[in-house]
Amino acid sequence: MTTETLSKRSPSNRAKGGGSRADAESMAKKQREISVSEFFAKNRHLLGFDNPRKALMTTIKEAVDNALDACEEAGILPNIFVGIEPLNKDTRFRVTVRDNGPGIVRAQVENVFGRLLYGSKFHRLKMSRGQQGIGIAAAGMYGLMTTGKPMVIHTKPKKNGKSHRIVLAIDTQKNKADVSDHEETDYDLIPETGTEVSIELEGKFQRGKQSVDEYLKQTAIANPHARIIYQPPDACVSKTDSNGNGDSGSSMPSLIDDYAHAVQLAESASETTITPGGTVVFPRAIGELPPEPKEIKPHPLGIELGTLIKMLKQTDSTQLGGFLQNEFSRVSLRVANQICAAANKILGKEETITNRTWVSKLGHHEADAIYRAIQETKFMAPPTDCVEPIGVKNLLAGLLKGEKAEFYTATTRPPAVYRGNPFQIEVAIAYGGELGAEEPARVIRFANRVPLLYQQSACAAFKSVGDTTWRNYGMTQPRGGQPVGPMVVMIHMASVWVPFTSESKEAIADYDEIRKEMKLALSECGRKLKTYLSRRARMKREGQRRDVFQRYIKEVAKSLNVIDPKLKVKTLCEQLEEVARQRTVEADMEFDEDGNPIAKPGPGEAFADDDSTVVVESAKPAAMFIDDDDDIDDDAPKAKSKGKKPAPKRKSKSDEDDYDLDQGNLFD
């Protein structure tokens, strides 16, 4: 375009000044390879390092995702430690994440931490948290760029061996690790096997929405099998210290002592607890690992032409039939023949392709024909046993811990397929209780058990909540908006390949199949919510009925007394109350066809046989009418003495475990 405008303005100018402008050769001198690392160093927002606050979040997220993946693959119940140490002026932190995973063999450390796009997860189709193998290396690179400090890695692959301590920087030009120091040491903090990463970075620590706190809280909800210990920057920092007085004579325990205390607590506590030093403990809620997801081959409908050509180049198979059957799922000999036949039709008469055609002889033209033939062929849906949902029981357990509501329900959809990739949608909702009634319902999103905190409105999960007609389920919902009411909606997508809208993995892309499944799951939960709400409303109405009469009796009696003072208020009240008793007992009864009274179920009892629903009978609504008068509070003397409201009684129908929660909200 530039040349076009130039030539239009003055065609002679170009000839004159030709010498001073760049020609092909001089331009060629400037053209050189851009390494992936370099590219990401300049475009760090693509990976989720847009601003200091998000950078801190993303660093922890990447490290924790890797840690959980590593533990699960090795069949170890994850014990994760996350520490944020403030270094100076609230802008520089050292992030440490430690797991009890299998460790990394010394030779691989450079590749795992020092190269972008190196990993075990990209080239396979298996449900896991990480996908591309960018995360942790990018985090290290960000740290290096902002502070100049390399990563410090401790890893211990053998239980009785020594652990390796490696100081590692990334050479962005070569996309290669640059190890400045390595030694073998005894590292007490990794007792058996495991890995610890330490990154210094410029960041900003903030609580609230989209914070590290929130991320870890949601991670604990979606991963009830993991134990997480978290030391926020203010842990073990006494106030005098932070004021810079240097007076270290405070009563705060040291970080190490508090960590040891937290480890002890994690064994005994059944709910989220905070140590005196401020270390947060998310104990393990379930003592078994989720089943190991199976790895599958790609489904023919899930690949693109470029991928097909690449696969043709890399395959070990020599003949086309073998290639199709070995590299893809759901391709049998018969189906392979069908593909060849269809490809021949597209190619015309000149060439023919059969199962026995050599893969090496296939050119671009043929590959294109095979690709098009695949689109015309009918395949069985991909196997879906490779997707492992969180499960209704665990979803409820997680929500019960995380949200104080009165009604919980969850559903797991059967697996479905988008673009050849199997996936499964799960939805859980919590309603009522202490949730904010006037705000739009909160949506918490997960992909393969990883919380998604950013780009909510771009996410298919968030959009599908707005698409669902919540008005049908007794919620208010502005036209085209999110439902409003005391509700938390949790949506989880499990898939061998979660389609994110960007590399920073913040929002699920909008595929029709995914949206449809999400809406179906939301509607399923919505229907249960409606049943609960209408039952609750009926109970309320009945209660009101009785209240109404009780309330008016005195007014009526007083009025009659004014008209005729001979009519005594007390007598009238007593008589009216007697009638009220008789009347309401009678009215409460409903009779079946044989004339026998029917007992009506309470609002929660409708779900007595339903494992996917939990109703918490909260003490809250009743407490609203009770003043602070001591005489009324006879029923709860214990709670009174503690100076707390009585804790809501939680009753789970799906699990006999007691989910009683501490009143102190962790992140308040």
Partner: protein, 411 residues
């Protein structure tokens, strides 16, 4: 069980009505005899048309009835005559609307009625206090008197006056007493001037010297408050609107034509209706009604003449079967050559109302059917002010005198 209760209750409620009936009849009989030769200017002889019923005692009766029901541990209730077209009969002989015998029972132990029942007793108590203290007050006053927060809750006995007003009407019909007898009055509305001297609350008032605004007609016009002294009026002219009434007053029409001119500010309130009734029956003055030519005008006339559906139980004390409809008729536009530009097209609401009125039993006379049909045929309505198109005083100088002279009225 509920049905049995209703019937027994009805007889109880009817009792006061039966008691007062003879009083009324005798008063009615007395009036023609005494004022038959009553000429204008002559001093008017006082005679009572007021009922001598102790409304306070009626209230006590109601309270005791409820207490008896409660004492028997039954669901207490009061019977309230239905105030609807379905529950009125047109008494052709007497020429007025009478209330039928349908009642609705208002029970306490019924979720939909409990609050209304409670409110009914509150209003009854309020009225009972008023009667005992011999005071009168506005219905808004009573609303505030009865409004308070119910003990042990955040609920109010009444939230809006629109809740207490219908309860007052219910009580009126249930006790068969006027709201004025309950010590209540509505916002006064309406004015009168004319050649007559009256006594209002012991003040002597010359209605011919009332300035431009006229004498405001109070809500309670019974003979213990308003007494007719002397006068020379030959008829009563009721005008629908205050603005047109002012034209008549300014032109001193009443002086020239020796009549009382009254307006009721649209649908005339009870005070105005009762005052006209008293003048008509006690002073033997014919009544002419001058309203807009539209369905609402027709209805105002019919309320004066046959009584209203809401207060059907009071027709005997309110309705004036001899009242005449002097205008405006649908035929007046042709008769008086009024240009078409001043007429207004009937809207859907008007047409619907006209058809409703046409179906009322008391509009079944041939002239009336013809009149309404003609209006529907023309498809237009005409306001009284439209006559000013010819001349400001056309209505007082030409229109009305000619209509009266030619006897162009409808009965």
């Amino acid at each position: 069980m509920a049905k049995k209760k209703t019937t027994s209750k009805k007889t109880a409620a009817k009792k006061p009505v039966a008691k007062k009936a003879p009083v009324q009849r005798s008063a009615k009989k007395a009036s023609p005899a005494k004022s038959s030769g009553g000429a204008p200017k002559k001093k008017i002889i006082r005679k009572s048309t007021r009922r001598k019923v102790d409304t306070g005692a009626v209230l006590v009766g109601m309270a005791n009835d409820i207490a008896t029901q409660v004492g028997a541990l039954t669901d207490p209730g009061v019977d309230i005559p239905t105030r609807a077209l379905s529950n009125v009969d047109f008494d052709e002989k007497a020429g007025m609307i009478r209330m039928g015998s349908n009642t609705q029972r208002r029970n306490f132990f019924n979720l939909g009625q409990a609050k209304k029942f409670m409110q009914t007793t509150l209003v009854a108590a309020g009225c009972s206090e008023l009667i005992r203290q011999k005071k009168t007050t506005s219905i808004r006053d009573l609303f505030y008197h009865c409004k308070h927060t119910i003990e042990g809750s955040k609920e109010n006995t009444f939230d809006e006056q629109s809740e207490s007003d219908p309860i007052i009407e219910d009580l009126e019909v249930a006790l068969a007493s006027l709201r004025e007898e309950l010590g209540l009055f509505a916002e006064p509305k309406g004015a009168m001037v004319g050649p007559m001297v009256i006594e209002d609350n012991k003040d002597t008032i010359d209605l011919s010297k009332m300035g431009s605004g006229g004498w405001a007609i109070p809500s309670i016009v019974e003979d213990h408050i308003i007494k007719f002294k002397r006068g020379s009026a030959k008829y009563i002219l009721l005008i629908e609107k205050g603005a047109v009434w002012r034209r008549f007053s300014e032109d001193r029409y009443w002086e020239k034509h020796k009549c009382m001119i009254i307006h009721g500010g649209g649908q005339p309130p009870r005070g105005v209706r009762r005052l006209i009734w008293r003048m008509h029956n006690e002073l033997k003055l014919p009544v002419y009604v001058l309203v807009d030519n539209d369905p609402w005008g027709y209805y105002i006339y019919s309320v004066i003449k046959q009584g209203s559906i809401n207060l059907a139980f009071e027709s005997e004390r309110m309705a004036i079967p001899a009242a005449r409809f002097i205008g405006m008729s649908a035929y007046d536009a042709e008769r008086f050559d009024i240009p078409k530009t001043v007429s207004i097209k009937l809207n859907d609401n008007d047409t619907r109302r006209a058809k409703e009125i046409m179906a009322y039993p008391w509009f079944q006379r041939r002239e009336w059917q013809k009149e309404i049909k003609h209006m529907l045929k023309l498809g237009v309505k005409l306001e009284l002010e439209a006559l000013s198109n010819k001349d400001f005083s056309f209505i007082t100088e030409h229109y009305l005198p000619r209509k009266l002279k030619d006897k162009q009225w409808l009965d």
